[in-house]
């Protein structure tokens, strides 16, 4: 398994994911517009909520970025399920390409995609008057923490794609999981305003970790010790997700 070969596989796989995206202009539009909807809709809906730091828009910018990453990554495995359903995947398994590249190319693609979406949201929020306490470097670090969270979610999505028979099972399951997980996190509401049981759930929710890290960087500035703790926690989360995905892949690649 030479690096040249891995590079050539990833090159065409990424090219394929991008070409498929490019050919669905509506999907591109939705991917760029949805984050705006979060900002504008929720930003105005909850302006009266009392949040630390005063400005709800500033408070929820981090939430909008991480929610967007979460949603893109949560459905990010479905392309592999489409390929399983159509027989395209098994055709690729007959090639000498590494099995793992199919999955890692999805990680790279989704990290790039959600990175772009994150930047779009941050720029839009900045134009709407949000000020970033830790500067560009801090915000970039926050996006990287978001990507760590996204990687785990992508792995779970891939696991789902290899455990289910068809995409008609995939979308209802993902739709069912998405909203409760978002609301039981600090994406939209601070912990202090949640009922006790929900606060307990939110404290365990990895989305809370990613949101809080980015929010700190936006609203207060660099806090190195908690940031390191968050990165550690998200890495543990990623390891668990990748282990789940590996087991599912073994089972699903037949």
């Amino acid at each position: 398994m030479s690096t040249t070969n891995l590079w050539r596989e990833h090159r065409v796989l990424l090219g394929r994911w991008l070409a498929r995206l490019r050919r669905e202009p509506l999907a591109v539009l939705a991917l760029l517009a949805q984050p705006m909807v979060w900002l504008v809709l929720f930003g105005h809906l909850f302006t009266k909520m009392s949040v630390p730091g005063g400005s709800y828009l500033r408070f929820m910018t981090a939430g909008a970025v991480v929610m967007t990453t979460f949603n893109a990554c949560l459905t990010g495995g479905v392309e592999l399920l489409f390929d399983r359903e159509s027989g395209f995947l098994v055709r690729l398994l007959a090639a000498p390409a590494s099995r793992v590249s199919l999955v890692t190319s999805r990680f790279v693609y989704l990290t790039a995609l959600t990175g772009v979406q994150g930047v779009v949201i941050l720029v839009a929020a900045w134009l709407m008057g949000v000020h970033y306490a830790s500067g560009i470097g801090g915000v970039a670090a926050g996006l990287a923490v978001g990507a760590l969270f996204g990687a785990g979610i992508t792995a779970l999505s891939v696991a789902l794609a290899f455990s289910l028979r068809s995409h008609s099972q995939f979308f209802p399951l993902v739709g069912f999981a998405s909203l409760p997980l978002t609301f039981a996190s600090t994406a939209l509401v601070p912990l202090a305003l949640m009922p006790g049981w929900m606060r307990a759930v939110a404290r365990l929710n990895p989305m809370t970790y990613a949101v809080d890290a980015l929010r700190e960087l936006i609203m207060t500035g660099w806090q190195v010790a908690p940031l390191v703790g968050t990165v550690g926690a998200l890495l543990v989360f990623d390891v668990c997700c990748v282990a789940t995905a590996t087991a599912a892949l073994r089972h699903g690649m037949r």
């Binding site: 090159r11 669905e24 159509s86 027989g87 098994v90 055709r91 007959a94 090639a95 000498p96």
Partner: protein, 249 residues
Amino acid sequence: MTSSADAAVEVIGLRKDFGATRALDAATFNVARGEIFGLLGPNGAGKTTTMRILLTLLKPTAGTARVAGHDVTGEPVAVRERVGWVPQEHTVDPLLTVMENMTFMGGMYHLRPIAARRQAAQLLDLAGLAGHGNKMAKVLSGGTRRKLELAMSLMHVPAVLFLDEPTVGLDITARRDLWAYVRQVSGQGTTVVLTTHYLEEADALCDRVAIIDRGRIQATGAPGELKIAYRASSLDEVFLAATGQELAA
């Protein structure tokens, strides 16, 4: 009988069990280099299972198989580098262009991008698809799409090409067109192993065939030899006799 030294495919005592189902039982046959070889048999006979084992996608329960000189269980990657496959299902990406489908496959076989584009252009030319490179694959007719799938499987110049029911669903013109293409590929030195339910197709196209039924090889030989051995006037009659079936009156 072919000697194993110049065998492209060598199958010895192959068995495959799916739980209680024995899909393949003591299958033994050789395919000589450069041959067009047909695997014939009724639905569920074990044709696709045989191919999937030879393609390293399934592990045999017992027996051995070598393809292009490499053992399918011991050296799967070496085998994958040397074989091409057009599965029973459709495997073009409808959202890519014809050219993108070709170069994508090239990359999955580790071709350099420039080499892949050159190879793709040559293969499309040979397949009579030269003008179709920028078309979206989803607009192709059934016959053209099948030819594209065949061309895609030739990007890495495989030693052995496996075609699983390549002409199913094609009209007679498209089918004959595909036969000509398969002959052309074979003429350039590629060994071809194909399955089909059209026995006149096997008769016209294959140098030798194996008739397989309920996982067992019932007969192997050139269509002409088999007709003589079974005192039959067509491959249909050979097939029915070898699989113990009779035509309804």
